[in-house]
Symmetry: C2
Subunit: 211 residues, 2 copies
């Protein structure tokens, strides 16, 4: 009975720990969004949360571990952005919508995007495992492309390759936009991205040209 009691308590405390952990991450996330990546310091986090830095280190090992969670959160948000895109008429427009949703996410969450792709926190570089987890967030895009080329041989590899090409293009446009490199023409950044996407889809996914 005693042992049972103890384990029960431990379970409860464990639960508490997880809630606390999530609470802290919420605070850190707010800090990130409102004050920017430079505000992510261990002392400041400890202050806002109301604990000492020691706790942060026992819970997250170090700053890398803490930012790891932000990194994964960012990709989860990105995944949700893509998942919120509803398939309307055809694959072609669906792919466009996914890419624009990607852009919207980046512009709406520039601080997250900076962590994910622009090395905004110098002390942080994602682990190999997290890089892969990140890429998995693009699964919906890959699936859409897969659906376009089911007839082709080696469709799986080809789908990933095309997805990667499209991804790189969207990322490039968004990246320049976020880094401040303006365009000299009247066209908006979104319009230019759309032009690029149309070109890519026309050439790389000709099967849905007359969609």
């Amino acid at each position: 009975m005693k042992a049972n009691k103890v384990t029960n308590f431990r379970v409860v405390r464990e639960k508490h720990q997880q809630e606390l952990r999530r609470g802290i991450l919420d605070d850190v996330s707010n800090l990130l969004v409102q004050k920017g990546p430079n505000a992510i310091t261990m002392r400041r986090i400890a202050d806002t949360v109301g604990c000492s830095t020691t706790i942060l280190y026992t819970m997250f090992r170090n700053k890398q571990g803490l930012v790891d969670e932000l990194y994964l959160r960012g990709f989860e948000l990105l995944r949700q952005s893509l998942a919120a895109v509803s398939y309307v008429d055809d694959l072609r427009n669906y792919i466009y919508a996914l890419c624009l949703s990607y852009r919207d996410f980046a512009l709406a969450n520039p601080t997250y995007y900076s962590i994910m792709f622009l090395k905004a926190i110098a002390e942080y570089t994602p682990s190999e495992a997290n890089l892969k987890l990140g890429q998995a967030s693009l699964e919906l895009l890959v699936q859409a492309i897969r659906d376009c080329i089911t007839d082709q041989p080696e469709a799986e590899e080809e789908a990933w390759e095309i997805a990667r090409i499209i991804w790189a293009t969207v990322h490039g446009h968004v990246g320049l936009e976020l880094t401040g490199y303006a365009n000299y023409s009247k066209a908006s950044s979104q319009q230019m991205l759309e032009r690029a996407l149309q070109a890519l889809v026309n050439e790389l996914l000709p099967t849905i040209d007359q969609g």
Copy 2:
């Protein structure tokens, strides 16, 4: 005479200052390339150069000012990379070569590229003026595109727009490559970039399709 002497001396000293300045920047550049962006600290620079930090502050105002120079150096190196590309057969291949040269520069100088486009040094964000100076390094690409569409109305704006689109694509591919996002297919990063470029040129510069 005395006044003349003094000014002469001042001129010489001014010259010395400029040499010194360039020498320091060379050292900092080496530090950047060999030890990475994190090694760019004022104390470390002062140590390698053999002076106190005070001098760095009087010469470059602050770290921002010092990195500004690295930033401009990076774009100058990029410009030289592009300038080294010789026009061989036709505009189409010339544009491809420019883009691949851009990529080569980025891969050969990842630390410079990080400063220019990723936020590798947290304390640094380029000024509006430097952003424009940076973009000017792409003039050769813009000119090549201009040559393709001279017949079009508003060719100037259109040239910049297409250049920007192509730039974003190259930047995106390179960016993902440098940030560690691998591709799941067998195709090399260069091959995927080439596929993307072909698609873009086919669609955006149709006048040279049958080049």
